[in-house]
Symmetry: D2
Subunit: 244 residues, 4 copies
């Protein structure tokens, strides 16, 4: 893995978040990292900390659900000219609610963010990776990818759609050398988002009951490093204390 290669993470938010942690790891491994998300402020802070330890990074403000934004992100990647080695679709949008209180707009938005954006991203990633017949495309899933439990029905529907997309892509593109991976993050990540969005639940877990960001990122990296003769398509990640 040399500086001649690049990586992209779509869905980079707070510094203490999975997108940011993955980006930092990829930069440490010598990849030029494109980080994309909706908040320029957050992206800048992540970029700064990557630059601080000598990593290479490009910030692209992008809304994953907008075809134009996703196209633009990949134009930037192509312009730079480095072969794309890793791509992570890390957008994860969750608005829990009973179904009768869920507006069609919210139901649609969750699908757009968790699945449509992944589709737009995947098409660009595959177009970039196909000529070199290599590269890894990750999708970050959740417990809800496998089970729909109220009040997470809308989220689960979107995540199940994402999981099926990932599976279809793996079947179509693995034989062409593109490693398509779907993770099932089963538990609460020790990051800013859960801390703010589900603070009670977050606290109730305790330090030992939360997924460490660096630990997740290490496994993504190991999976990326797999030899094509033994590729993992799907794996779960869960704190040892998490009931399942």
């Amino acid at each position: 893995m040399s500086q001649q290669n690049s990586a992209v993470v779509l869905g980079v938010g707070p510094e203490r978040g999975l997108g940011s942690t993955l980006a930092k790891l990829f930069a440490k491994k010598g990849l030029h990292v494109f980080i994309a998300g909706r908040s320029e402020d957050k992206l800048s802070r992540v970029a700064d900390s990557i630059l601080k330890y000598g990593g290479k990074v490009t910030v692209v403000v992008a809304d994953a659900t907008k075809e134009f934004d996703v196209s633009h992100l990949f134009e930037m990647i192509r312009l730079q000219g480095l072969p794309l080695q890793i791509a992570v679709y890390n957008v994860d949008s969750n608005i829990p609610a009973p179904i009768l209180d869920t507006e069609a707009e919210i139901f649609t938005q969750l699908w757009q963010q968790n699945c449509l954006g992944a589709f737009l991203f995947a098409k660009e990633v595959i177009a970039s990776m196909k000529p070199h017949q290599q590269g890894t495309l990750f999708f970050t899933g959740a417990t809800a990818s496998l089970r729909a439990k109220p009040p997470f029905t809308a989220f689960a529907s979107a995540k199940a759609a994402l999981r099926a997309l990932a599976q279809g892509l793996a079947r179509e593109f693995s034989p062409q050398g593109i490693h398509v991976v779907h993770s099932i993050i089963d538990g609460v990540i020790n990051g800013e988002r859960a801390e703010q969005q589900f603070s009670e639940y977050y606290k109730s877990k305790g330090e030992e009951g939360l997924l460490k960001l660096e630990a997740i990122a290490e496994t993504y990296w190991s999976i990326h490093c797999q030899h094509p003769s033994a590729w993992t398509h799907e794996f779960d990640l869960r704190p040892f204390k998490e009931p399942f």
Copy 2:
């Protein structure tokens, strides 16, 4: 089951189709049937054949993906005033294509037709059934609900989203007396749609390799008749000759 009750099937198309066959069976069982779909011509033909043998039917032209249309359909049902006993979301839209040839518009449309429409429909059905704490809500699924295989990735993604929606709804509303059911139609239906859309494949199956419409409808009816102490949430239906 008396004439005091009603049923609704959204996704009624050709006469030799599942929506039409379910509507006819419900009418035969004495329910007033609301049939809805996009083609007034097709709906009229189905309505005629229901009227011919003395059934009661109301035609409502509706695009399942449009909130306004779905609302309108249920206004009609409420206006008539009969308690809703059975509701079937039978829209099933499939456009096979390699992922790189699939436009975002098509990917979105498949999701809207297979899943968003089901969400809009379900909200109305549940609002209608909750006061009586009874009724059955069916979603018609497919092999692809469980497995994403190219060139059906977009379809599979939409059907997986539908399946998760159905599961979440079952968990939320079964305890309130609403029977939520998801069928997995694993194989080719002996109807007009497959005959036209996948004609080669259709023929290759032979009479014995296709799902008979009346046979499917009978099982839907049996499931509807289940006692609440032993409800089926999910079942598959497959021609005996179908490999799986």
Copy 3:
């Protein structure tokens, strides 16, 4: 369905049990029923109540895990000469315990009763049904067929083995006209066994939280009556109040 046909239920115990209820229903439908189990007393009581309302029944004492006993049961069936229409493997043996407290003998016994017996039974059933290219073979599964939760790990392992057996049999023999079905009884049956074995849990469920025996049997019968063009291989049954 005429008196010229027969049915067999292996795993008939207390009168208020699933085996007994299925046998009674089959007898009511006009089938000559062979009921088999380990307790002659219990079988006699079930047989008496079948005879009382004019049903036809043969009692065969058999331990499902003994090849000799299972062979003997089918010799009796063949001797009588009526074509076998329905066969149910209803043995369900559960001994909850933490894994470190589970002896190899118990682990083996649970597998023998839940799975090996089903295999022995299935071979005989298939040999009987193949010449007529028809008949339905049921296996009674449980929540644990899909999920292994302590202290039910040994039970879940055995039930998962049974489920895979049923799936393999369906793939091998459906095309030969034998309908192979696996049920997932997800909840507590309102019968003597649960009442005695899990009495606290049983009571906590309340009347509405338990599966009614007759309701389960009705669905088995509906599935048996399915047209071969639309066979169900697997379905769940769950009280409407049961969380899942």
Copy 4:
């Protein structure tokens, strides 16, 4: 990871096999490796090659299905006194046949080798690891763990039983610090066994269509190295060219 720790692999056969490859890797990582299997000859050859590059190894002849043998293996491990860090149940026994040609003895044997042995092994491993609240316990699964296809029904039944066992163990012992892992080897391993047992199929796959032993072992090692805050319980491994 220092020489103060040990590892055990049960199910070590030919040198070009998964058991042997895992043992060699563990030895290279500095663990004292106990290798166990039925053939003293094969074990000796594997031990020799471990010793050759300076690894530490103990050979124990053991039939995984015999409680006495498994106990003896762990007495040897305890006698040596090094904390057990990794344990792999790698026995994988497959005898394909149509169900009607499968004797009860064979059906039982496949379960004993694939599942009962795993149970005996697991109990000993857990007893060894519990005091230190750490260690990784691997079970090697297969495609058939998830799907039962003739003529592999008996094998699939046994592997499904193993998978459920692994799941129950993970739920019971993860919170106690023991990492329980189930792999799904989906494809043909480039080893002696497949080469001999399924030679036609093996050849048809070509070099690129087979799982490389070292590649599999690398992923096992990565999973072992995971931080407890993000443990994988199940993952698949598949050659990039393998259809699934």
